[in-house]
């Protein structure tokens, strides 16, 4: 009798604890129970009043429809409280996959707790959430690609550490996840161009303003055109007119401001500018073959199809890496017409996925869209 009761208790405990154990292991890199099919996805967009976010969400839903996945979009309205409410609403729908693009990092701890409690697999977009797989640009990859492009152009023009100043325009309020692009770019560029003091990325902190004497400067260019203009105009006052300037920004709007400041200072002939986003103004500026020489592109508007592939991989029980990234490319005046239709801004075909994200091809999802090289 005693033995029977013990077995009954053990069986009950197993039944009760099983979902909890499964829930604990349902996050990033964890194997989902058995191989399930992705049918229903809930996606919390950061702010649907902003075109770029709204466009991304619309394309996500469209991509889902194309492959028979129902993508329900929630609007976080750029607000932490709304994001938490949406997290609860999304969980209550019991989808196969939760996708969260948190508007700000403030809410991520609470959202993480909500998702973990639900036991539903999740993907965090752009902002990390503990327990979820992470999908974002690979800032280092893009920064290195841009450093490569600019190093080649500098070498061709005879620019080096003796006659060039690198002006880094960080966006101090966006934190290290974005500003790593700036410091990594510097490390990579000075390693490729002769005459510069070699500096490691981690040696450049948010408070650093001068790097190796005249060789590097760091200013806060923010993410707006006007801040980019002012930061560049003021920095140019401290760079002798006979020195060349390489301006690296984390945002195309900042680069637009920088371009205007360079032109106002009549230093177009001695400047190279790099932006981020490959937006319409960047493409237009690069087509004129002026000082704007590169803009990083991560195919933001098409992230939906990659997230669908990532979600499928998670449900198939694959262990996802720490970061899954979309195809990325440093757009330049030379490759513009390879990435975009000539004279246009619509993407022809995305370049191949970076090494760490090639596992997405194994899901077979990207082949159904057919717009990525190698898929």
């Amino acid at each position: 009798m005693m033995r029977t009761r013990t077995w009954t208790t053990a069986a009950l405990a197993t039944v009760l604890l099983a979902p909890a154990v499964a829930a604990c292991g349902s996050g990033a890199g964890a194997k989902a129970p058995a191989s399930r099919e992705l049918k229903r996805v809930t996606f919390a967009a950061p702010n649907m009043t902003t075109q770029i976010f709204a466009g991304q969400a619309r394309n996500f839903a469209k991509a889902g429809k194309q492959i028979g996945v129902d993508v329900q979009v929630y609007d976080n309205s750029g607000d932490a409280a709304t994001a938490i409410t949406n997290a609860n609403l999304m969980v209550s729908r019991k989808p196969d996959l939760l996708v969260e693009f948190a508007p700000i990092a403030d809410a991520t701890s609470r959202i993480s707790a909500i998702f973990k409690r639900s036991g539903i697999p999740c993907v965090a977009v752009n902002v990390r959430i503990d327990g979820c797989g992470f999908f974002n640009f690979d800032q280092k990859y893009l920064a290195e690609a841009q450093a490569q492009v600019i190093a080649q152009k500098m070498t061709a023009k005879g620019w080096n550490g003796g006659n060039t100043t690198i002006l880094l325009e960080q966006a101090s309020k966006l934190g290290p996840s974005v500003n790593i692009a700036v410091t990594w770019f510097y490390q990579q560029l000075v390693a490729k161009v002769p005459g510069f003091t070699k500096v490691r990325s981690e040696e450049i902190t948010p408070s650093t303003t001068t790097i190796a004497g005249r060789e590097g400067l760091q200013a806060d260019g923010g993410v707006d055109i006007d801040r980019g203009f002012t930061a560049t105009a003021q920095a140019l006052q401290t760079i002798p007119a006979d020195r060349n300037v390489v301006v690296y920004t984390v945002n195309d709007d900042t680069a637009i401001g920088a371009l205007r400041a360079v032109k106002a200072a009549r230093r177009e002939g001695k400047a190279m500018i790099a932006g981020y986003g490959a937006t319409q103004p960047a493409i237009d500026a690069m087509r004129t073959r002026g000082p704007w020489v590169s803009s990083a592109k991560g195919f933001w508007e098409d992230w939906g199809e990659f997230i669908l592939a990532m979600g499928t991989a998670i449900l198939q029980g694959k262990k996802v890496p720490d970061l899954t990234a979309p195809p990325m490319v440093a757009v330049t005046p030379d490759n513009l017409d390879k990435v975009y239709a000539p004279g246009m801004t619509n993407v022809k075909r995305m370049p191949p996925l970076p090494e760490g994200s090639r596992y997405l091809l194994e899901t077979g999802v990207l082949q159904r869209f057919g717009n990525v090289e190698g898929a």
């Binding site: 400067l217 993410v223 707006d224 006007d226 709007d253 637009i256 205007r260 200072a265 103004p281």
Partner: protein
């Protein structure tokens, strides 16, 4: 009854004679009304001179003509927006909507010129947007008596959202030929800087030498007394916010011309910066005090600080601390001046005089 009216006289108008029953539109009172143009502002002027002197000596490249053009170009957009803010503050209110009107006008101008509209019609339409917002603000505040803080906060939200809606959240480029306000005109300074200087002079003349200007001080000093003195407070308030809206819109056009592009986020800090500048320049948040000279000094001080700290390579986080501390010092110095024994005696005397007149 007459005694009760007299107690409503604005500070500094001890001999004002206007009152109800006198059908002179309050002009008798206005004739004796002398606005205190830069009370407390003299301290910030001294402070500004000291700061400039210190930077000239200690910051390489600060006292060069090229850098002066950078400071002027960077500060003029805020300056023009601050003129409108100044009028609102002197009238006893705020105009928080500046931070929404500026980007809305900027993207309106950019979208119109991008689509082929001529420069002049695009500028006029952008200014119309500012005027419409300002008039609505003025009616809500002056006629429906809604608190200016709430009213303009609401329109800040509306116009800020509209700026993103008009631009679809994207960066809109301004056609190069439409950006003529941003092109150098004379002495290497862009045309909009010269336009801004003209507006500064005009604003000073209006505030100091016109009946409209004096009425703004009157309603800011004591709205009730101004009303009883026959001033059409509602109408003046509508005009004040209308002008403020137009100036904010013009600032937006200037910014878009300077940058040859506009976004919904352009001039995001304008509301706070303009308010800081006018208060720094001696304007009282309680209304009735302030002047163009003080506001210009306030904007210039902020511009010079930002410039010199960047030239000195002060990290951006520390810049915020330095700017905040300097502002506190400047305003504190002005306040200490107000609290000096001589001024206190003068102040008490002024407060006592109306009773003596009774």
């Amino acid at each position: 009854m007459i005694e009760k009216v007299r107690t409503f006289r604005p500070a500094g108008t001890a001999t004002a004679a206007g009152g109800p029953g006198k059908d002179d539109g309050g002009r008798a009172g206005e004739a004796r009304f002398r606005p205190r143009a830069i009370p407390g502002g003299s301290a910030v002027v001294v402070f500004f001179v000291l700061v400039v002197a210190a930077f000239t000596v200690s910051v390489d490249g600060f006292a060069t003509y090229s850098n002066v053009t950078v400071i002027a170009s960077s500060s003029m957009v805020i300056m023009v927006a601050s003129l409108g803010q100044l009028l609102a503050v002197i009238s006893g209110g705020f105009d928080l909507s500046i931070g929404g009107v500026l980007p809305l006008a900027a993207v309106t101008f950019a979208v119109l010129t991008h689509d082929g509209t001529g420069f002049v019609p695009a500028v006029l339409l952008a200014m119309l947007v500012g005027l419409a917002t300002g008039v609505v603000n003025g009616v809500v505040i002056g006629v429906f008596r809604i608190n200016a803080l709430i009213a303009t906060l609401a329109s800040l939200s509306i116009t800020g959202g509209m700026a993103y809606a008009v631009s679809h959240g994207l960066t809109v480029q301004v056609a190069a030929e439409a950006g003529r306000l941003g092109d150098p005109l004379w002495l290497d300074l862009p045309a909009f800087v010269w336009l801004g200087l003209v507006l500064i002079v005009l604003a000073h003349l209006v505030l100091r030498y016109t009946i409209f200007g004096r009425r703004i001080y009157m309603i800011g000093g004591n709205g009730q007394a101004a009303l009883l003195a026959g001033v059409r407070v509602g109408l003046v308030t509508v005009a004040v916010y209308g002008v403020s809206g137009v100036l904010a819109a013009l600032a937006g056009v200037m910014a878009a011309s300077q940058l040859l592009a506009a976004t919904g986020g352009i001039g995001a800090d304008t509301t706070l910066t303009s308010l800081t500048a006018v208060v720094l320049g001696g304007a009282a948040l309680t209304g009735g005090r302030g002047g163009v000279f003080g506001a210009v000094t306030g904007v210039a001080l902020l511009g010079v600080l930002d410039n010199a700290l960047n030239l000195q390579r002060v990290p951006s986080f520390y810049q915020q601390i330095v700017v905040g501390s300097v502002l506190l010092l400047a305003v504190g110095a002005g306040r200490l001046g107000d609290l000096s024994p001589t001024r206190r005696i003068r102040s008490v005397t002024q407060r006592e005089t109306p009773r003596e007149a009774e």
